[in-house]
Amino acid sequence: MSLLDVFDIAGSAMSSESVRLNVTASNLANAQSVGPDEASTYRARQPVFSAVMQSLRGGVDSPGVGVRVDAIVESQAPLEQRYQPEHPMANAEGYVYVPNVNMIDEMSNMISASRSYQSNVEVLNTSKQLLLATLRLGQ
């Protein structure tokens, strides 16, 4: 039943987009989580999406392609050092490390993720209506 595949596909996209929203939320929440050194300071994270053939997942003959989150990668951009000797996290030289979270990037990412989520909800709703109409066929 190909319309039931749509539920799997749109569902996989919605869960991937919600992972993306989660990652964005944690980036925004930790934008000011300063640390004493490079290793222990928070770095901006991004999910990596990849396409998954439905026929490989369920073993059914379907032309559909779902999405999954392959990995969540940390940004390798350099961390900003701030001279704040009075800060409790400051190292011996008086510097704290600020996470490399770009607020503008994160906000645009958030909007893009929520729009994609919405369009998948729309797909799901339409498919549901079509399926229900098919069930009422001949009545």
Partner: protein, 131 residues
Amino acid sequence: MAISFDKALGDLPAQLTLYGKRSTVLASNLANADTPGFKARDIDFRSVLAAADAGQVALKTTRPGHISAAGDAPGGAELLYRVPVQPSLDGNTVNTQVEQAEFTENAVRYQSTLTFLNGKFSGLKLAIKGE
């Protein structure tokens, strides 16, 4: 005179199946709107219908290792790649607006086929009851 359901319904059931398959393909495009390197695909509905009208016969697969001649889409429909309007740097060719429009159109077509099928069924019912 016997009523043959296959003939009574014409190619409407096949159309319904194909619209269902196409909705899967379009939903895949929309789902992968943010996947790097994903290429949007679609079924050329016109060519499938033309092939059905011409009575073309598909190659039969008799063993699990056989590959269907019509490509990877079932039902004889060939999956083609969409020509991107504005390709992005990450290799993704999905245009969400185009896909949404196509999906909505496909849904409307599916529903109109359903309406025609319902008409056929009520006609059959009328013939059976004779009222």
